[in-house]
Each structure stands twice: as structure tokens, then as C-alpha cells.
């Protein structure tokens, strides 16, 4: 079962190509890390699939259908720098926004939605912050608010854009534990990630991206030294570049 796939996806900002003919698919139940150097088009890939950026060519499908038919099953956690954190609103209200999609136009959130939001806040450990104004939060707390908002949507497929950017150790543990829980629940996660050292901690699959797809598959096949050097355009003889530790086998169990 394929959770999402895209074929022949190309995106250009003005005339500068960012993605060229990307073919990408994620099987249901996978935690797929999208890894690559700065400017590789990692965020753009997600945004183009979700219709936030208009691609030049290519189509994307989610659970075998177009996005507009399965929107409620697809959640999105943007980079936390994408909003104005001085906006006058509280943690609880932002998390509640995750439920707005299933409510549709005009219907207001009721008790069921508030309970969903409360559960999402508990899972990410931000229940104590519910009444805080979002501007008073640390970087890690902001990421957890966005994660809770995505959880409140209760999707089957999550897109997360750099959830570990600029966060503290506690927030990192909270997010990793949510990732593990999602995987156990059979959810699919697509996660843009830049820290090569921790990829193997929670990803079952990896896509190495640098404008085109360098490799895509289970971690032990796609996340190899050779592919990484190719993706990061590092010469074979250069020393000191990151070496994936595949000796112990995958640290996370790969879904069949």
C-alpha cells in the first residue's frame, strides 16, 4: 500500500530549477526521512506535493487519490519560522486549529474537538502551556505546538518540515517519542531532516535529495556512504565526511 507518491515532479522558482523530475513514493507505515544539503529542494518537495507551490510538471497522489479527496488524512507541520509568533493567540487555540479541516466551513469546534486538542497537547507534553500566549514559548515548545496541531487533525500521513530545528533536548525527546508512537499506530511520516547523525534513530526509509533523487528506499539501502557523498557532492577521497553506521543493522525496525 502506497501512502503517497509523486512522479516527474519539477519545480522552478522563476527560472531557477529547484527540483528536476523527482519520482518519490512512500509506503504506508514508513517513517521516510528526506535528507540532503541546503538548497536541495527538501521543503519544496513537500510544499509542491501539498499544493502550496505550483509545480512545472508532475502529479502527486495520496492513498491512490488526488489530495483534494483525502485532505483530512494528510497532516502538515510547517517549519516553525513560517508564522508570526507574536500573533495574539494561545497554545490551546493553535492546537485546536488542527481540527478545523474536518469541521469545514462555518461549523465551530465543540467538545469533541477540544478533547482531541487536549489529547494532542498531552502527547506532546504541552498541557501545562495550554493558556500561554504563543510568543512566550521557547523554540522547542513552538515545534511541539505545531506537532500537536498536526496530531489534532488525526491524519494517517504526516508531513513534517524540519521538526528538530532549533530545539532543546526535552523537546527532541518528546517529538521522537511521538514519532515512535505514530509508527506503532501504523501512521506514515514524511520528515525533512538535516542532521545526518540522527537519521537512523527514527527513520525506516530515506530519500537522499539534491534537486534530483539520489537514492530512495529502506535506510540500509538508501543511506549509504556512497549515496551520501553523491548527494552532498563530496569527493570519494575526501576524509572526515559523515559515515553512516550500518554495522549494527537498522536501529529502527523496518515495516514489511
Amino acid at each position: 500500500m502506497i501512502a503517497c507518491q509523486t512522479s516527474g515532479l519539477s519545480v522552478a522558482y522563476h527560472t531557477e530549477p529547484v527540483l528536476r523530475n523527482v519520482d518519490f513514493s512512500v509506503s504506508a507505515g514508513a517513517v521516510m526521512g528526506i535528507v540532503g544539503p541546503n538548497g536541495a529542494g527538501k521543503s519544496t518537495l513537500i510544499k509542491a506535493m501539498l499544493g502550496l507551490v505550483t509545480p512545472l510538471t508532475g502529479t502527486s497522489e495520496f492513498f491512490g487519490q488526488s489530495l483534494s479527496r483525502v485532505r483530512q488524512r494528510v497532516g502538515y507541520m510547517p517549519q516553525f519560522t513560517s508564522v508570526d509568533w507574536d500573533f495574539p493567540t494561545t497554545v490551546r487555540d493553535v492546537v485546536l486549529m488542527g481540527t478545523y479541516g474536518r469541521l469545514g466551513w462555518l461549523r465551530r469546534p465543540g467538545r469533541a474537538e477540544k478533547e482531541t486538542a487536549a489529547t494532542a497537547m498531552a502527547q506532546t507534553g504541552i498541557t501545562d502551556l495550554a493558556r500561554r500566549q504563543i510568543g512566550e514559548l521557547s523554540g522547542g515548545q513552538r515545534q511541539r505546538v505545531f506537532l500537536a496541531r498536526a496530531l489534532a487533525q488525526e491524519p494517517d500521513l504526516f508531513f513534517m518540515d524540519e521538526p528538530f530545528q532549533g530545539i532543546d533536548a526535552k523537546s527532541q525527546r518528546a517529538i521522537v517519542s511521538v514519532l515512535h508512537r505514530l509508527r506503532q499506530a501504523g501512521k506514515t511520516v514524511v520528515i525533512v531532516h538535516h542532521d545526518l547523525a540522527t537519521v537512523q534513530d527514527f527513520c525506516t526509509h530515506v530519500t537522499l535529495l539534491n534537486q534530483t533523487v539520489v537514492s530512495c528506499g529502506p535506510v540500509d539501502e538508501a543511506f549509504t556512504s556512497e549515496h551520501l557523498r553523491h548527494a552532498y557532492r563530496v569527493g570519494d577521497t575526501e576524509q572526515g565526511f559523515f559515515e553512516p553506521d550500518n554495522s549494527r543493522g537498522p536501529r529502527v525496525e523496518v515495516a514489511p
Binding site: 508564522v83 500573533f87 495574539p88 494561545t90
Partner: protein, 334 residues
Amino acid sequence: MSDVLGALMGPGAFFDDHTFRMAFFGTAVIGLVAGALGSFAYLRKQSLISDVISHSALPGTLGAFLLAVVVLEVDGRNMAVLMLGAVVAGTLAVGLAQYVTRATKLSIDAAMAITLSLFFGAGMLLMRIISNGAYPGKGGIQDYLFGNASVITKADLIASISVGTAALVLMVVFWKEITLRTFDPDHSTVLGFHARAIDALMFITIVIAIVIGVKAVGLVLMVAFVVTPPSAARQWTRTLPAMVVLSGIIGGLGSGLGAYLSIAVGGVPTGPLIVLTLFAFLVLSLLLAPGRSLITRARGRTRHRRILLRQLVAEREAHIEPQGSTTLPGAGQS
């Protein structure tokens, strides 16, 4: 000083006068509606869109006037016709500014400035055409430039209240959608809400808020009614509903108070005095609001720096004590 105060008209005499009453309640309604709805333009960081709208209201109103007099041959002073013209032109101007931003490499501020001057130029052209021609009911069209609160009639007030209420009702009905898109536009799109539909709704409410004020306040000063109250209200509030309500209250109270002062002092134009009153509210808010106050923040910063300096000196002393040295150079200054 007592002479000045003695010359001020008391509230009793003020509210006995029909014209004064109309000026007070007319501007208060304008201030309330514009203040409440201006919050969204403020949070979208597009406060200046209100200037685009008010300037485009001029060709809209005058175009509607010409259409009414020349083509439809009805009374050119018909409020409904004039407002409709202004709403149509204001909406077109907002749409044009956003289209230019999307379609070209121009940024939103350039697009807004271009749209504003384009519509205002067209409006000035129409104004000259009308003042040169023999059109019935053309008196008072120059009021749209600088405003004239003393010409607010009971019919105007009723029109402002009903149209303003309609705009506020739209805001309340689509509160969830407008809030969602204002906070995180991408998230609202991913959740399946049609971005342009929400934007259209939101900007139409702002257009209405501005259109009802242009004649009394003038298109040049209208921007202050949309920008200043939300800026002041933001200092005191932590949630969006609170901000919108407080902004409406500040807008309504400030406008009424400004209108009262302008009449009570006598010989002072209403629009400018309202703008100054609203500005006073803003300055007080910036200085006094807890948490965001410029004064307490500056004080807090000074205190924290003093504590930090003391710590640094202590650390340094503890570190070099074995050598017998005592103070850090310059540590005595603060």
C-alpha cells in the same frame, strides 16, 4: 487655563444639538467598525491596504455619482449608490494590488503604492470633471478628500450602522476561517480552505468599514481609523477576540471623544482631532501596557544588565582572587 476650560462646551449642551449628536455617533460607529476589522489587516501586516481602499473609494464614489446622474438619472446623493460604487472600486483595488504581487516580481508595498496612486489619480480626474460640469447634487464632493463630520445626516448614520453591522456579522460568521488564514495561510490551504475565498471575505469587510467612513473622515485620514486602534489594542491583549473587541472600543471611544473635542473647542476640524486622539491612545498603550510597555521593558533591560554585570564581576573576582587582584576595570560604571 480656566478660560479655555470655561469655553469648552459641556456634554449636556453638546448632545442637545442634532448636528453634534450625529457627528459624535457617526464617527463613533466608523471608529468602532474600522477598529475591529482593522485588526485583521494589522495581523496580516497589510495595514496600508486601508490607505489603498480609502483612496480608491474616491473614483468609486464619484464614478457611481456620474453613473447615477448621467445614465440612471437618479439623485446623485443616494447613499446606497455611492457606497456601492466605493465598495466595488475598493474591492477592485485590493484585488489589483494582490494580483500585481502574485503575477509580477513587485512586492506588496510597491503594488499597494502603485494601486493607490492609480485609483487616486483617476478619482482626482473624475472630481475635476464633476466640478466643471453642471451636475445636480454635486455639492459636497470635495468632502471625500478631507472629510466633514458636520454633514452626517440621520440617514447617513443609519446607513453606517446597518452596513457596518453587516460587515461585523460577516466577521463573526466566518471567524474561524478568517482567523485560521490570518495566523497560518499555508496551514489553512492544506486543511482545504479556499484561500482566495477567505481573502475576498476578509477584505470585503475591511472595504465596507472604510467606505462608511470616507465622507465623514476623509480618504486621507481614514487609514488612521484602521491602523491605530489595532496597534493600541494589541499592546493590552493576548488573544484575538480580546484584541478585536478592545480595538473596536478604542476606535469607537477615540473617535467619539475626538469629535466631541473638535466641536467643544470649536473651529477645529473633526477628522484631524480624532486622529490625534487615537494617536494619544496608542502612545499611552505603548508606554503603559503591562508586558509590552516601553518603560517597563527598558527598566527591565537595565536591571537585567546590572545583575549580569554584577555576576560577571563576581565571577571574575572569584577567578583572580588567588592573585590578589580586586576589580574589573570599569566595573564601577553602570
